[in-house]
C-alpha cells in the first residue's frame, strides 16, 4: 500500500536519508588511511552536492549540520578542535556551493560547484590551522592541501554528475525540472 506524503514530509525524509548517507560515507572515509591529518577525500560531501538540486538553501545547511555531526560521531572528534576544522570547512564550502549553484546551468556544472566548495573548505581550514595550530607554517601544507582538494573535488563533481544524470531516484526526488538531469 502506498501512502501519500506531503511535500514537507518528503523533504524531511530526504534530508534524513542524505544525512545518513553522509554518515555512511564518513565511515567509509574513516577506514581509508590518511598520510597527513586533514588530507581527506571528502566522500561525505557527495550527498551535499547532490542535495543542491533537490533542497532549498536552508535545508542544505541543515543537511550540512547533520553531516558535520555525523562525521564527528563516526570519527570520534565531536569534542576536539578537529571538530572546528570540520565545521568551518563544511559550512564555508556549503555557502560557496549554494552561491555558485545560483549561476545558470549553461555557466556551471556540478564539477565547478564541487571545485568551488572544495576550495572554500580548504581555504577555511588552512586559515583556521594558521590561526590555531601552525601559524605561518600553514603555508607549507597549503600547496599539497589545495592540490589534493582540487583532485578530489573534481572526482566528486564527476561522480555527482553521473549520479544525477542517471539515477531515476534522483529524477523523482528532484522533480521533472530537476537540475543536472
Amino acid at each position: 500500500m502506498k501512502r501519500k506524503l506531503t511535500r514537507l514530509a518528503t523533504e524531511r525524509d530526504l534530508i534524513a536519508l542524505l544525512g545518513a548517507c553522509c554518515m555512511f560515507l564518513a565511515l567509509i572515509e574513516h577506514m581509508i588511511p590518511k598520510p597527513v591529518p586533514f588530507l581527506r577525500l571528502g566522500l561525505a560531501n557527495l550527498p551535499i552536492l547532490i542535495s543542491l538540486g533537490m533542497l532549498n538553501p536552508a535545508q542544505v545547511l541543515l543537511l550540512v549540520a547533520l553531516k558535520v555531526l555525523g562525521q564527528a560521531l563516526v570519527n570520534g572528534t565531536l569534542f576536539s578542535y578537529v571538530f572546528l576544522f570540520s565545521a568551518a570547512g563544511s559550512v564555508s564550502s556549503a555557502l560557496v556551493m549554494l552561491a555558485v549553484s545560483r549561476l545558470p546551468d549553461r555557466a556551471v556544472s556540478l564539477v565547478g560547484i564541487s571545485i568551488s566548495g572544495g576550495l572554500a573548505s580548504t581555504t577555511a581550514q588552512l586559515a583556521l590551522s594558521s590561526l590555531l595550530v601552525f601559524g605561518k607554517s600553514a603555508l607549507y601544507i597549503a600547496p599539497v592541501f589545495l592540490a589534493v582538494g582540487l583532485v578530489t573535488s573534481i572526482v566528486l563533481g564527476i561522480i555527482a554528475t553521473a549520479f544525477c544524470s542517471t539515477s531515476r531516484w534522483y529524477g523523482r526526488a528532484a522533480g521533472p525540472a530537476g537540475r543536472w538531469r
Binding site: 502506498k2 501512502r3 506524503l5 518528503t10 525524509d13 530526504l14 536519508l17 597527513v36 591529518p37 555558485v100 549561476l103 546551468d105 549553461r106 555557466a107 556551471v108 556544472s109 564539477v111 565547478g112 571545485i115 568551488s116 572544495g118 576550495l119 595550530v133 601552525f134 601559524g135 605561518k136 607554517s137 600553514a138 603555508l139 607549507y140 601544507i141 597549503a142 600547496p143 589545495l146 592540490a147 582538494g149 582540487l150 573534481i154 563533481g157 564527476i158 554528475t161 553521473a162 549520479f163 544524470s165 542517471t166 539515477s167 531515476r168 531516484w169 523523482r172 526526488a173 543536472w180
Partner: protein, 139 residues
C-alpha cells in the same frame, strides 16, 4: 516517496564524454591551480613566509613573522627591550642593558641568525623554514 536502491543504477544515459563541463568549471579549476602555484612559490622559495623570529624572555616564548613589520617590546629583569621587524629583518633598537651588544649586533634576517641580551635575559633567534617545515608535518 524515496525509491529503493535498485533504482539507483542506470547505464543508458551515462555521460562519459564530459560534455557537461561549463565555463565556470574551467575557471574554478584554473583559479585553484593558480593558487597552488602561488602557494608553492611563496612556501618553497627562500624569500617567502616561514621565517620566524623566536624570542625567549623570562616571561615566555614568542614567535613573530619576519615578513610582517612590527614594533615589539619585551620585558626582562632590568627593563623593556624594543625590537623592530622591518623589511624581513629584526633588530634590537633599544635595551636597558649597559653593554648594548644586542643593539649593536647586525640585523637578523635568515635562519640561524641570533642575538641576545644576557642582562635582560632576552634571547632572539631567527628560525629557518626547514625547522618550521618539520613542525608542520610532525604534528
Amino acid at each position: 516517496m524515496i525509491g529503493s536502491i535498485h533504482e539507483l543504477s542506470g547505464d543508458d544515459r551515462m555521460k562519459l564524454r564530459f560534455s557537461y563541463l561549463r565555463p565556470f568549471d574551467f575557471f574554478a579549476a584554473l583559479l585553484v591551480l593558480g593558487l597552488i602555484v602561488i602557494a608553492a612559490v611563496v612556501a618553497y622559495s627562500g624569500g617567502g613566509g616561514g621565517t620566524l623570529l623566536h624570542v625567549q624572555t623570562p616571561t615566555g616564548e614568542f614567535l613573530y613573522d619576519l615578513n610582517r613589520d612590527a614594533h615589539l617590546q619585551f620585558e626582562g629583569p632590568i627593563g623593556i627591550m624594543h625590537v623592530e621587524i622591518a623589511d624581513g629583518a629584526a633588530r634590537v633598537i633599544s635595551s636597558p642593558c649597559r653593554e648594548q651588544i644586542c643593539v649593536n649586533s647586525r640585523p637578523m634576517t635568515s635562519g640561524g641568525d641570533w642575538t641576545a641580551c644576557l642582562p635582560n635575559r632576552v634571547f632572539l633567534e631567527v628560525t629557518g623554514k626547514d625547522e618550521t617545515e618539520v613542525d608542520a608535518f610532525s604534528y
